[in-house]
Amino acid sequence: MISRILWRTYLAAFFVFLLGPVAFIALYSLNDAVYFQLPPPGLSLRWYGEFFDSRIFTRALKNTLLLSTTVTVICLLFAVPTAHLVVRGHFRGRELLNNLILSPLIMPGVVTGIAFLSAFGVLDIRDGFFRLTVAMTIFCLPFAVRAISASYHGLNRQAEEAARNLGATRLQTWCKVLLPQLRPGLMAGGVFIFVETVDNFSINVFLADRASKTLPIAAYEHIRDFDDPTVAAMATLLSIVTIALVALMDRLVGLDRFIGQK
C-alpha cells in the first residue's frame, strides 16, 4: 500500500517536473511586468503584442514557416526511397547505409553547424535560406527515415504480394498498397521534422544570415539582449501549435499506437 502511494507520488512528481517549465513559461508570458514576480502584478497579453509588433520576430516567424515547410517536404521526398532501400534493399552494406543515414543524430549540433559553415564557405554559398534548407534537410532525414522505416517494418508484405498477384505492377503496388499504409510514418516524420526545424538552434545559428534568421535565433538574440518575456510569449505560441499537432497526430494515428511501433 505504501509502495503504491510512493509510486503514484513519483509518477505525479515526474509529470509535474516534465510539464512545469512549459506551464511556467505560459504563466510568465502573461505576466504584466518585465521581470517575473510572484504573485504576478497582473495579467496581460502585451508580450504577445510585442511579439507580433516586432519586425524581427515577424520576419523570423515568416522565415521559420517557410523553412520548415520546405524542409519537411524535401525531407519526406528524400526519406521515402531511402527508407525503402534501408528496409527492403538487397545489397551489401545496407546496414552501413542505415547507420550513415542516422549518423547526424549523434553528431553534436555545434559540430554539424560549424562543419556546414566551413563547407559553405569553401563553396562560396552565401544564401542563408539555401544553407539552412540543406543543413536542416540532412539533419532531419534520420528522423524521417526512422519514422517511415518503422511504418515499413509494420507492413504485411503479403499484402503487396497479393496486389501483384491480383494484377498490379510494382509501381501500382507501391502507390496503391504501400504508400497509403506508410501514412502514419509520413505524418509522424513530417510533424517531427517540422517541429525540429522550427526549433533548431545549434545548427542554424551558424548558417542563418541577416535575412534568414529563424525564431530560435531571434529568441536567443532577444534574451541575450532584452529582459522582457517576449520570448515566453513566443514559446507559449509554439507550444500551443505543438500541442495541436500532437493532438492531431493522436486523433489521426493514435499516439500509443505509433510510438514504439517496431
Binding site: A33, V34, Y35, F36, R55, I56, T58, R59, L61, K62, N63, L65, L66, S68, T69, T70, L117, G121, D124, R126, P180, Q181, R183, P184, D209, R210, A211, Y220, E221, H222, I223, R224, D225, F226, D227, R251, L252, V253, G254, R257
Partner: protein, 344 residues
C-alpha cells in the same frame, strides 16, 4: 479503424493548410529595397536610442535604416566575416577593442571619409580612429540594489568584501574586452603587463561571484530577480533597471576604465549613405538622445550630459584606458586561463 484515419475532407484540409503556409509566410511584412542601409547593432541599444535617431535620419535624408541585431559584437563579426563579397551590413556597432582588431581587414572595412573624421575636434579624445568613430563612451561601473546593499560602494576593493558573498555578477573575460580582469589586476597591484595579480584577484573574488556573465540581459535579469545584488556593468544598465522600477545606485570607483562603443564602415556599395548615418549619430541632437535615452556619455564635448549621469561622471584624472592592441593580442589566452583557473 487504425487505417481510416484520414477522411477525404480532413486530408484536403490538412494538405490545403500545408500548401497555404508559404503563402501566409510571404504575406508577412518583408523588407523594402532602395535607399536603405543596414546597421548591425545590439537590440537594446537600438531600441533605447538609435531607433529614434534612425527615424530622424530618414526624415532628414530619405535613407531608411534597417537594424540587424547581434547578440554580441563578436557573433556579429563572425557573421560579417562569413558573408563574403556582400556582407549586407553597412554599419557595424562594436566595442572599440574589437573594432581595433577587426578593422585591420582591408577587404571588409573602409577608412572613414573626411566628412566624419573632420568632426574629431568636436569630440572627446580617442573617439575617432581611421576606421571607426565612437558613438558614445561609458565608464565600467558598479550597479547595486539599494534594498540589498546597505553601505555604499566606493572602491573596487569593496567587492572583495565578505559582505558580498554570493551576490556579484561580473562580466567574463570576453565581455567588455577583459575589463573585469584588468580592474582586478590594478586593484591587486598588477597591470596589463603584469596580469597574474588579476587572476589571483578574480580567484579570490570567486566566492562572491554568482555569475560571470556574457550577456547584459542575463545580468540585469539576475539583479532584477535578486539573484545578485551588485553588477559590474555600464551605467546604461542602471537606466534600464530604474525604468522597470528597481532601485539601483551607480558607483564609478577609481581607476575607472572608459570604453567606447564604435561604428565601423563596412565596404559595401552603400558606404556613402552609411557614412552619412555615422556622421548623423555624431550630431548634437543624436548625442543628446544617446545621453538621455541610453544613459551613456556623449562623445561630443558640447553635448550636455544627462541628469542621471552627472553624479557618476568620473574625474578625468581617475579614468584609465588600456592599449587595445595588447588586449586583443592576449584576450584569447586570458579567456582560456580565466576559464581554467577562475570560472570552473
Amino acid at each position: 479503424m487504425m487505417t481510416r484515419f484520414l477522411t477525404g475532407a480532413t486530408r484536403r484540409a490538412v494538405l490545403g493548410a500545408l500548401a497555404a503556409l508559404p503563402l501566409v509566410a510571404s504575406a508577412l511584412p518583408a523588407s523594402a529595397d532602395t535607399d536603405e542601409i543596414y546597421v548591425q547593432i545590439w537590440g537594446t541599444t537600438w531600441q533605447s536610442a538609435l531607433q529614434d535617431i534612425a527615424e530622424r535620419f530618414e526624415d532628414a535624408t530619405g535613407i531608411a535604416v534597417v537594424p540587424v541585431t547581434q547578440a554580441s559584437s563578436s557573433e556579429g563579426l563572425v557573421r560579417l566575416q562569413s558573408a563574403g563579397e556582400d556582407p549586407e551590413i553597412d554599419v557595424w556597432f562594436t566595442t572599440s577593442s574589437l573594432a581595433a582588431r577587426a578593422t585591420q581587414n582591408d577587404d571588409l572595412f573602409l577608412d572613414l571619409p573626411e566628412s566624419v573624421t573632420e568632426l574629431a575636434p568636436d569630440l572627446v579624445a580617442g573617439a575617432i580612429a581611421p576606421r571607426y568613430a565612437a558613438a558614445y563612451f561609458y565608464p565600467m561601473s558598479v550597479i547595486y540594489r539599494t534594498d540589498m546593499v546597505d553601505a555604499p560602494i566606493t572602491t573596487w576593493k569593496d567587492l572583495w568584501d565578505a559582505r558580498f558573498a554570493n551576490s556579484l555578477a561580473v562580466p567574463d573575460v570576453t565581455t567588455y574586452a577583459g575589463r573585469s580582469l584588468l580592474i582586478s589586476a590594478i586593484a591587486n597591484g598588477g597591470s596589463i603587463d603584469d596580469i597574474d595579480p588579476g587572476f589571483e584577484g578574480l580567484k579570490a573574488l570567486s566566492p562572491n561571484v554568482v555569475m560571470f556573465y556574457s550577456s547584459d540581459a542575463t545580468a540585469r535579469q539576475a539583479l532584477a530577480q535578486g539573484e545578485v545584488s551588485t553588477l559590474v556593468a555600464t551605467p546604461a544598465q542602471a537606466k534600464r533597471m530604474r525604468d522597470q522600477g528597481i532601485e539601483v545606485e551607480v558607483a564609478t570607483p577609481a581607476p575607472t576604465p572608459m570604453l567606447f562603443d564604435v561604428m565601423t564602415l563596412v565596404d559595401t556599395p552603400r558606404a556613402d549613405a552609411a557614412a552619412k548615418f555615422i556622421a548623423y549619430v555624431l550630431s548634437p541632437e543624436s548625442q543628446k538622445l544617446i545621453s538621455e535615452r541610453l544613459n551613456q556619455f556623449p562623445v561630443r564635448k558640447d553635448t550636455p550630459v544627462a541628469e542621471a549621469l552627472q553624479s557618476i561622471k568620473p574625474d578625468p584624472e581617475n579614468t584609465i584606458s588600456f592599449d587595445e592592441a595588447k588586449v586583443n593580442a592576449n584576450i584569447g589566452e586570458w579567456n582560456e586561463r580565466f576559464q581554467r583557473e577562475v570560472a570552473q
